[in-house]
Structures are given as C-alpha cells and as structure tokens.
C-alpha cells in the first residue's frame, strides 16, 4: 500500500462555503416548523384575548359569548395559573402572562380561549365584553418623561475625562436632538408554541424561541414546578432577530398552563396582526446631545442622554439601553464624555431585543454627532470620521474604560474608499447637484465597530453534546438555536473538522433543554463563538480517548496518532474512521462527550461603568450613494459597497448572506420601516400592508459585498473567526447619511440636515423644506 497516496480534504470543513444544512428542505417545503408538525391526537388550540385600551382598569369581563361560541372548550385567565403570573426576564415581576386588574398597553393579553380549532378559538376571543375604566396613557418617550413616568429599570452612566473642561476648551459647541424609530422584527414565522402534557409535572414544549432555557425556566415558574419537569425543543425558527429571545415565553407559558389544565396538547399561534401588536420591538430612542469640537472637527467633549421607549415593563430594556451607550462612540475617541441612558416606561408593548440590541441606536446617535460637526464646519463627514478614529497615543480608551486593542477600522476604511472610489464619486455627486434642481444625490461612507460578548457576563458560556455512534456516524447537539443564520451548519463544520470526517457524517439535532442545560439565548451574535467552542471541546474529549486507544492498539505513541480525512493515521498505518470507531466501541471506549466553553478575559462593573464587557470587536464599513427627488422626498439607493470583518470566516457563503441580509434590514429600519401609534395608543402599523420592510427592488441598484479576507481575530475564538449576526446591521447607516447629504445639498452642505429616523420620503421632504428655509 502506498503510504504516500494523496490525502483529500474532507467535504464541509471549517472555512468552506458549505450550503445551509437545511437548504434542500427549505426549498421543498419539507423543513418542519412547529405549525407543520403532525399534531398529537386531541390537540386543542389557544388564542389570546388582547386589551383594547392603552391604560385602564379592568372593571369586569363578560365571557358568556366567548364560552357559547362554537368549538370553545374553556377560558384561561390569571386564576388558572398554578405558579406565578409573571414572565419577566429581568425578574422584576412586571410582566404578567395575563393582565388582571390593570392593562398597560393596547394589545396586552388578558385571557386565553381554548377551542377545538384555532379558527374557533380566534373567533370566540373576539366576542368578549370587557368593561374598562380608562386611565391617562402615554406612548411617546418625551411625553412620558414630561408626565413623570418612571424608568423601567436602573439607568446607566458612562463617564470618562472631564466634560466641563472639555466644553470649556472647545472652539465649537453644538446641541441637538434626534429621534430614532423602533422596528418590528417581522420574522416570517410568527410566534408559536405546542405544549404536550406529560406524567406528573412534566410538560414537553415545542417553541419558536431563541432562548429555550429561559422558556423552560419561565414555564416552570408559571406552572410552579422545577425546571427538570419542563423540556423545551427547538429544531428551527422561521426567523427571530431578537424577537424570540424573551417574547416566546408568554406563548409557551399559556400553552403549558392550558395543556396541564385540560390534559391535552395545546397549540398557540397568534395571527400576524396580533403578533405585531402584542410582542415587543426594537426600542425607539430620543437622543439629546451636546458636542464640543475644534476647528478641524476633532471632538473635545460629548454629553448625551439616550432615552428609550421601553414600553410597560423592563424586559431587556436595561441591557438594551446599556448597549446603546456602549456603541455611542462607534469608532471614535471621545476625550471627555458622559453618556446616560433613560429607560422610560410608556403605555406601549414592552420593547425587547432586536439585532444589535440598542447598539444600532447608540451608533446612529454617534454618527449624528459626526454629521453635525461636518456640516457645521462645511467638511466631508468622512474626514471628520477619520480625524476622530480610535488610535494613537492615549486615544484608545472607550467611555466604559475598555481599551480598544484590535482596531482595524483604518485599513477597512482605506480599502473601501479605494474600491468604492469614494473621493471621485463624492466630487461627481457635488457637481451633479450643482446642475440638477429637482433630483439630488448624496454619498456617505460610514464605519462600524461592534462589541462582541453578552454584557451579562454569565451568559458567556455554552454547552454541547457529541455522540459518536458505533457505525461512525456522529450526532451533534448544542445550546444554540437555528433561526436561519446557519449556526447548525457552522458548528457541524467545526465538529467535522475536529474529527476530519465529511460533513455528511454529522447530524445536528434539535436544540433541547433535555440535552444541554442552562444555555444562553442565541443572541448577541454569540452563537458560533460559544457553541462552536463547546462543540469543539466535546469533540476533543472524544478524540483524546480515541488517540489513547489507537496508540495502544497500534503500539505507537499518542503523538503519532493523527486525524486525517475520514481516516486516522497511527504511525505508518491508516485505519478508516469507521473502523477505528467500531474497534473503540468494542474496547469499551466512551464515545460521547459533553463540551463546555466560557469566554475568557471579560468582566463588567455596571455600577461603576467600568470593565471589559467585550472579548473583541467586529468591524466593517459601507459606502452608499442615493438619489433623492426633492419634490416628493422619494429616493433610491443607487449603489452600496461593503467591506466587512468576520475574522477568518467559518463559512464565507453564510457570512456573506448575513452581511447582505443585515445591511438590507438595517437600511429598512432607517428608511421605510415606521411604527405609528394613534391617539388611542393603538399601533396602526401592525401588518405587512401597513408596516413596510424592504423588498427585492429596494436593495441597492449596485451592491458589492466583500469580506475582509485578511482579517484574523487576534483573540482565540473558534478558528479565529468573528461573530457576524449583528455587526453588519449597522452598515445600513451609510444610507441615512447619504440621504442627509442629498438633503444638505439644498443648503450648500452648511446646515446639519438632522433627518430623524426612519427617513421616510415624508421626513426627507420635510427636512429639505426646513433646510431650504434655513438657507433663506
């Protein structure tokens, strides 16, 4: 046998452009979502009855017409809850499953109807008669502040340097404010849970949740039973984006309570409109700021308050508003800075996680500071950006006292400026605008620096479970959930690479609290960082046992054992992976392992506003050019170029998909996606007919997306990759800034355009009118 035979690579190794593990099932409609599963015999359906008032006392409820309605089996109210009527993830006890005496937003769940079919439950729920005693309500963050509404959770302050001193020596001081709108997740698969009652206290749940462990704990809390009685399974979600980090818990809890009450399987799935009305969204922000800077545009001092519309309860508003402050610096060094958050209570649905988790709002605020400086001084905003980048002696400390150690924004910007031909195109745009009265163009190049790690340090841990079966096939399970991002694919690639076997040999099974306990939410872009490491750890444990076994079997030292493609080499001999596994099983070697990982180096002291909350930063930049119709405010994105840093990509095909998708979602947030409440506190944009997310025809007419292939994570992450879920979302900011430039053209680029987000055609036109008036 020729021992020099070529060694082929395995199929589906780390860094390969492997297709999504469910791709072939997505396209055939055979990928199973919870609503597609065969229902257990006797399954009943639940539907929620929602408040029709924004703020009111419930005087009485008449269920007669509901119970008399066809197919109705029963009603579920707070009195049916055996444990606690609360699903607050912040443990504030401010998030009831069912409102009892008081409703605090229009759309708050008050009761559930259980019926033979979903349609019957839904129709019955609409027949309830509730008498309310109205109370004054407030939906807007500034009005709430004026009305002395409380904060839903303790605010954060980040402070460094001396702002009084900074403003005193600043040549220019500017004050301003900005509104930044929220965003509905618009996951294509709405919320859904299926609960199956078991023996004793047990309940098995299939839930569309990003956080199976929290769903498990919350269901246990609501049922008043220990977590060991609850098993939560998630094979995949039809999109989530943060909208299923905490918001799935209520649906799961209702299904579980009903399952126990009626002893039958219960499925709950709200209609899209109810899903949008009753579940939380991205926080709207109001930013109040004061900037000090010199003639060149170098920042001396920043003082800003970020107030967020949190809704009626805390939910995740604490860490969301914290992360806004963590990103208000974006890539810029603020010598003297004070940043404060105000998580304000309002009579709206409780806002929650959404891709970027407050970071995008913070970063939009930071970029607004740059824009104001640039237009005040009549300079190219990109020059102001570069002038203020982190870097150089004494200019690497963030407002939260973490030193930026891995700064690559300079190279990213330089390369993108070249490849997008920024300077020449900016000149061309300015020349065009001089000649064109109705159509105006704008171009902007904006950077992104996004901190990676949960700021709640305990979440930065993960587990995985790897079984190698006697036939050599491998089953992988980990705590992360698949919502389309390709996590299952990437982690399987890691395990394939560890064992050096083709990817087909590995099957990833549904995430289950029964297999890997105490998992973190699949959130904060951390999925592959955490679970990839945990799975690698599990594989390494099994490999270590196999190495010891093979060394003994072949009579060589352990250092002579190597895992080669689908083969294990022992000295000069090779054995097929399958054969080694068969032999190891025969020799009673344990072929299963639980892996674990915790992120090193991080710490955070919230009270002091100091620490190292982030293991590392991910970087990127985008350059967008737009055309604007100054008669109507309509616009089009003519071109976008993106260069984004994912370290050494685990899977460039999936990462490019994340970058493209995040950009379009971020662009949608800042342009056409608008949440609108009426005077009664009703959200009126609660369906795709009224709430517009980008379509295929909204993507930039030229769209060039590249990964920074030279980037390697300087920290020891899984194969030196970087997280990709959230950072590219903020690449959409270049579109807002390009719209600003087009608007600014009507006032010779000397008046800060200050377009609030989302920059709908209306806001763009109104800004143009304002700028024209300001120019006089």
């Amino acid at each position: 046998m020729n021992v020099m035979q070529p060694i082929h690579r395995i199929r589906g190794a780390v860094h390969d452009k492997e297709r999504h593990e469910s791709g072939h099932k997505h396209v055939t409609g055979t990928a199973e979502y919870i609503d597609d599963m065969p229902e257990p015999a006797g399954t009943l359906h639940a539907y929620l009855g929602l408040s029709q008032r924004a703020h009111a006392e419930i005087v009485s409820i008449d269920f007669d017409a509901v119970t008399a309605s066809a197919g109705v089996v029963g009603i579920l109210t707070a009195s049916d809850i055996p444990g606690e009527n609360d699903v607050s993830p912040a443990h504030k006890h401010d998030d009831p499953v069912f409102a009892t005496k008081l409703v605090e937003f229009h759309g708050q769940p008050i009761f559930g109807v259980i019926a033979e079919s979903r349609e019957e439950a839904r129709r019955a729920a609409a027949k309830v008669k509730i008498e309310y005693r109205d109370l004054p309500h407030v939906t807007d963050v500034l009005e709430a502040t004026a009305a002395n509404y409380p904060l839903v959770i303790d605010p954060l302050k980040l402070e460094r340097g001396d702002i009084a001193d900074g403003f005193a020596k600043a040549k220019h001081v500017v004050e301003g404010e900005m509104r930044i709108g929220g965003q509905d997740h618009f996951y294509l698969e709405g919320h859904i849970s299926l609960a199956i009652p078991g023996e004793d206290e047990e309940v098995t749940l299939y839930a569309s949740t990003q956080h199976p462990s929290e769903t498990q704990h919350m269901v246990g809390q609501v049922l008043g039973v220990p977590s060991h009685a609850i098993t939560v399974n998630v094979r995949r979600m039809g999109g989530a984006f943060g909208g299923k980090e905490t918001q799935a818990n209520l649906f799961a809890a209702v299904a579980a309570v009903a399952a126990k009450k009626y002893g039958r399987a219960i499925k709950i799935r709200p209609d899209r409109d109810d899903d949008m009305v009753a579940t939380g969204k991205r926080h709207d922000f109001h930013v109040d700021y004061k900037l000090g800077f010199d003639d060149e545009g170098r920042i001396d001092a920043v003082d800003a308050v970020f107030a967020a519309r949190c809704g009626f309860s805390a939910d995740l508003s604490g860490p969301v508003t914290d992360r806004a402050l963590f990103h208000a610096d974006n890539c810029y060094f603020y010598p003297n800075v004070r940043l404060r958050s105000r998580p304000v209570k309002t009579n709206t649905v409780s806002n929650t996680a959404f891709r970027g988790f407050g970071g995008p709002q913070g970063m939009v605020g930071g970029e607004r500071f740059i824009e104001d400086i640039a237009y005040k001084l009549g300079k190219d905003p990109l020059d102001i950006r570069k002038l203020n980048f982190y870097g150089g002696e004494g200019r690497n400390l963030t407002p939260y006292h973490q030193t930026v150690e891995d700064n690559i924004i300079g190279r990213i910007i330089e390369e993108l400026e070249q490849s997008a031909d920024y300077a020449a195109r900016r000149k061309e745009v300015i020349a065009f605008n001089e000649k064109s009265s109705v159509i105006r163009r704008g171009i902007a190049l904006t950077p992104v620096k996004f901190g990676i790690s949960f700021t709640k340090t305990e979440y930065n841990q993960a587990g995985a479970l790897v079984h190698v079966y006697a036939d050599g096939s491998i089953q992988l399970n980990h705590g992360g959930t698949e919502m389309g991002q390709g996590l299952y694919t990437k982690v399987a690639q890691v395990v394939a690479d560890e064992f050096q076997v083709d990817l087909e040999r590995i099957r990833v099974t549904a995430t289950s609290t029964g297999k890997v306990p105490n998992t973190s939410a699949t959130a904060a872009s951390s999925g592959s960082d955490l679970n990839g490491m945990a799975a690698a750890n599990a594989a390494q444990q099994i490999k270590a046992r196999l190495v010891a076994f093979a060394a003994e079997k072949f009579g060589v030292s352990e250092s002579d054992i190597a895992f080669e493609p689908n083969t294990v080499r022992a000295g000069h001999e090779r054995i097929a992976f399958n054969d080694l596994i068969k032999a190891a099983y025969g020799a009673r070697i344990q072929l299963s392992a639980a892996g674990f990982y915790k992120t090193p180096k991080i710490h955070w002291n919230r009270a002091e506003g100091r620490g190292r909350p982030f293991f590392y930063y991910a970087y990127g930049a985008s350059c967008s050019e737009v055309s604007v119709d100054t008669l109507t405010g309509e616009y089009q994105i003519d071109r976008t170029d993106i260069l984004h840093d994912v370290g050494r990509s685990l899977n460039p095909a999936l990462d490019i998909g994340q970058v493209e998708g995040a950009f379009v979602q971020g662009m949608g947030w800042l342009t056409m996606e608008e949440l609108w409440w009426d005077a009664k506190g009703r959200l009126r944009t609660h369906a795709p007919s009224t709430y517009k997310i980008p379509l295929a025809s909204d993507r930039p007419r030229i769209f060039n997306v590249r990964l920074a292939e030279w980037s390697v994570n300087r920290e020891d992450t899984i194969r030196r990759s970087k997280a990709v879920g959230e950072p590219p979302f903020m690449l959409g900011i270049s579109v807002l800034e390009a719209l600003s430039m087009a608007a600014a053209s009507v006032a010779s680029y000397r008046v800060p355009p200050r377009i609030d987000a989302p920059a709908t055609p209306e806001r763009v036109l109104m800004a143009i009118e304002r700028l024209r008036a300001a120019k006089g």
């Binding site: 072939h24 405010g633 007919s689 997310i693």
Partner: protein, 491 residues
C-alpha cells in the same frame, strides 16, 4: 334562465382531482392545503396577501388557453378554484428525487436562511421561469414584489433566479410538457352549469354566465360578489366578517373580455391587473409604472380593475388615473344597464353609486385626444407593493397659444374618495401652461382637499406632495431636466 346546477367544486390539486361538496364559503386555499390535505410546505406568513409565504400557482383557462399564475393562497377562497389547477411546492420535487431546477438554484446560491419564506419564493420564481426562462433582473424583481424575505437581503435569491435556466430547460418542465393534458382535464371539468355549494346563507355560488350572475344578484342583493378576493379575502382573514353567500365571478370568461374599438378600451369587470397590463400600457405608457406598483405580482394576478373600483377605497390604485382619463363604469342590474362617469361613481367614503343587486360589469377608458398630456404619480413609503399615501392623475389639453383648455386632476389619498381637484382645475383652465399658473393651481389644491394624517403620511405632507406633483407634471411637460428618479435596473 334555468341553468343546470352542480353542487360540487372541482379542481386539480397537484396531480390529483378534487371534488368538494361540503366547503365553507370562507375556507381559504391555504387552510385547505395545510389543515385538510396536510400539505404543509405552503406557509402562512401574514394571512393578508402581502408576504407571499403562501404563494402557489393556479393554472386557469381563458378561452381554452391554460396559464399558470402565482397567487396568495391565504386570501384565495377554495370556492373560486373551480376548474383550476392548483400547484403547490410539495409537488415540485418527488420524494428523494432530484430538486426542481428552481429549488436547485436556490440551494446552490445560498438563497435560503430561515427558510420560511422560501417555498413562496420558489413558487413565484417557478411562475416566472415558465413564462420567461431567462428573465432580466427587472423582471425578477417584479415577479418578487409580493414576496418578503427578512433574512437574505434578496441578493442571493436574485442570483438563484438568474441561474435557473443554466440548470434546466423550461420547455421540458412537467407543467409545460403536460400542458395539453392538463388543459384537457380542466376543459372536462367545465360544464357551464351554475354551481351552488351549501345551503341557506352559507352558500357558494358560481354563476353559469354573466346573465346568470345578473339574475342571481338581482334576486339576492345581500350576496357578496367576489372576483380576485384581494380585498374581500382580508375581510375574512383579518376582520372575521361573515360574507356569505358568496358569488364568485373569476371563472366567467365573458367578464375577462378586453375589447378595443375606435373610442377606447373596455375591460370586463373580471379582468385582472396582469391581464389589463398589455392593452393599458400600449395606449397609455404613462400607466406602466403605476401598474407595476399595484400590490405584488400575486395580487395583480388575482385582483381585478372592476373590484378595485367597486370596493370604493378612498385611495384606490387605478381610480385617480382612470378618472383623469375620463373613464366610465358600466353597471348592470338584471337586464338593465347604465353607464356612469367613474368620478361620479364615488359618492363619499364607503358609498358608491351602486344600487342593491347592481354590479360593475365593465370599465370603459376612452382614448386620449392626440395632444392631451397625461401623467400619473404614486407616492408611497416603499416603492413597490405599498398602498399610496397620495396618488395623482393629471391630464391637460392646450390650445395653439399654450392656453390650458382642459384640465383634469384627480387624487387618491386626499379625501374620502378618489376626487377631482375642482379649484386647481379652474385655476388652470384659460390660463397659460406656465410656472405662474401652476403655482396658482398648487395653491388652489388647498381649497380642494383637507387630507387626514395617518400611518401612511401626515396631512401636511399629503398636501405638500400633491402640490409638488402638479409641479412635477408641469416640469415634465417642459422636458428640461429629469424631474423623477431614474428607476435604475439593478446589476
């Protein structure tokens, strides 16, 4: 007329015939597929015809010719499928067989992430590929206007759509190859009988002919006529309204007639937006952009011009343009017919000039005088598949001296109905067509309309943009510089 009566709905579902004698008038195709046939590849994303996750193909005959179109199963009633061939994603690839070329292209280009919207995209692209095997990017974007994806940013899906024909030949696709066979099967389902399914109030009725429809509706004016169900579908799925008895008209070829004579175009009330597109844009190329921006492809395949008018929306997709063009509506009650100008048909919000038992039979659009200048502009938050904040139709005629002899200006989104701007028109007629008169007419629009503030736009923006659209119209007739966005084709 004593037509024969059939008491079942008959259609083809994938490869199998279906005959239903017990079906609710409000049963949607989506619920039928998922709950009754356990075909769960087709997904529910919004239940209002906006997201496209439920997209299926429906093949139907017009004058014996079979055409497959993408439709939203969530707002399509089962009763309307009589004589049709429904094709769902479940039938594209055989179990353990090769993927369909559209599916393979989607996998190869990494065009799915969460996968929930994917079956709908596959079906929309399949419908496109059958009609247009090598589509331009503009054609792809148009075919996908009714499909929302929240994950991918669409770039990979566009790449997939471009790649399909590199995988296989569309002419060898089963639906193309078996066309004659399917056509024969569908023709065999046609018996020109009146179909009545159900009893009492909960009836589905499919008239045997337009005359039969006239008889049925005159006898039972409380019945609900349903054509494309792009509006009525939501009454059921969103407002849970009781709409029975339902009279479907989409199967009536007579109502799908398009005729051109010396005076103009006559569209039967059952003509869909898609069917009307060629003739309307041939004579009025200014309508092309508006037409392409009405709903998504699925809605344009289902929705009808007659329905768009009859439902009396205050915004309306086509009415402002059609009023500007001087269109009229043919109404019929029993054997009696009358014609009313479209602008007079809309009386006030929620009220049209339609008597009990009377229905819209046709819409007539007169050709323009040769020198008339015409334009229509639609303003929305999102370019495509969005309801207008403001939609304006403009038509003027000038004499040799450049004096305005006729001005017709109609707006949707500015009042309780699509409405003409009498004051602005008066300001223009008799005045020279120049910036000064246009400015006066812009000012006069303030006397014509008191728009509302809602989620689509504020009152201030509506009035400002309505004025500016008149300015745009004037500038456009001057042709001095681009005054509209050059809607670039993506590369």
């Amino acid at each position: 007329m004593a037509a024969a009566i059939r008491t079942t709905i008959r259609f083809l579902l994938n490869h199998k015939p279906v005959e239903l004698s017990d079906v609710s008038p409000v049963k949607t195709l989506l619920d039928f597929l998922r709950l009754e046939r356990n075909l769960r590849g087709t997904k529910e994303g919004c239940a209002e015809g906006d997201c496209g996750a439920c997209t299926v193909l429906v093949g139907r005959l017009l004058n014996g010719v079979l055409k497959y179109e993408s439709v939203n199963a969530c707002i399509r009633f089962v009763g309307s499928l009589d004589g049709c061939h429904v094709v769902t994603v479940d039938a594209l690839a055989l179990p353990n067989g090769p993927l369909h070329p559209v599916q393979q292209a989607m996998v190869d280009t990494h065009a799915s992430q969460c996968g929930f919207c994917t079956p709908g995209f596959v079906m929309s692209l399949y419908g496109l590929w059958m009609e247009n095997p090598k589509p331009s990017i503009a054609a792809i974007e148009k075919a996908l206007q009714g499909n929302l994806c929240r994950c991918t940013g669409y770039a990979a899906i566009i790449r997939a759509a471009e790649a399909v024909s590199t995988i296989a030949d569309a002419n060898r696709d089963p639906l193309v190859a078996e066309r004659a066979d399917i056509t024969g099967k569908l023709l065999a389902l046609r018996d020109d009988a009146r179909v009545v399914v159900g009893e009492g109030k909960d009836r589905i009725v499919l008239p045997a002919s337009v005359d039969d429809l006239a008889d049925i509706y005159a006898a039972e004016p409380s019945a609900r006529i349903v054509a494309g169900s792009t509006d009525v579908g939501l009454w059921v799925t969103k407002f849970m309204r009781d709409i029975a008895p339902v009279v479907h008209i989409g199967h009536l070829d007579e109502l799908r007639a398009i005729t051109e004579d010396a005076d103009g175009i006559t569209l039967g009330a059952g003509v869909s937006y898609t069917e009307a597109y060629p003739v309307m844009t041939k004579h009025f190329p200014q309508l092309a952009e508006l037409w392409d921006r009405i709903g998504g492809q699925q809605v344009r395949n289902m929705g009808t011009i007659g329905g768009n008018i009859a439902n009396g929306s205050p915004i309306g997709d086509t009415p402002p343009a059609l009023i500007a063009l001087g269109a009229s509506v043919s109404l019929r009650k029993g054997a009696e017919r009358r014609q009313v100008p479209l602008e007079a048909f809309f009386i006030e919000y929620g009220k049209q000039d339609r008597q009990p038992g009377e229905f819209v039979e046709a819409v007539h659009i007169p050709f323009q005088k040769r020198d008339d200048q015409f334009a229509v502009y639609k303003i929305t938050k999102r370019l495509d598949e969005d309801i207008s904040a403001v939609c304006g139709g403009f038509r003027i005629a000038l004499d040799d001296a450049g004096i305005v002899t006729k001005a017709v200006i109609a707006f949707g989104g500015m009042a309780g109905t699509p409405k003409r701007a009498a004051n602005a028109e008066a300001a223009l007629v008799g005045a020279p067509w120049n910036a000064t008169s246009v400015a006066a007419a812009m000012e006069a629009l303030g006397a014509d309309y008191t728009p509302l503030t809602d989620w689509r736009a504020s009152a201030d923006y509506r009035l400002l943009v309505a004025r500016n659209l008149l300015k745009r119209f004037h500038l456009e007739t001057q042709g001095t510089e681009p005054v509209r966005l050059d809607r670039k084709i993506a590369v």
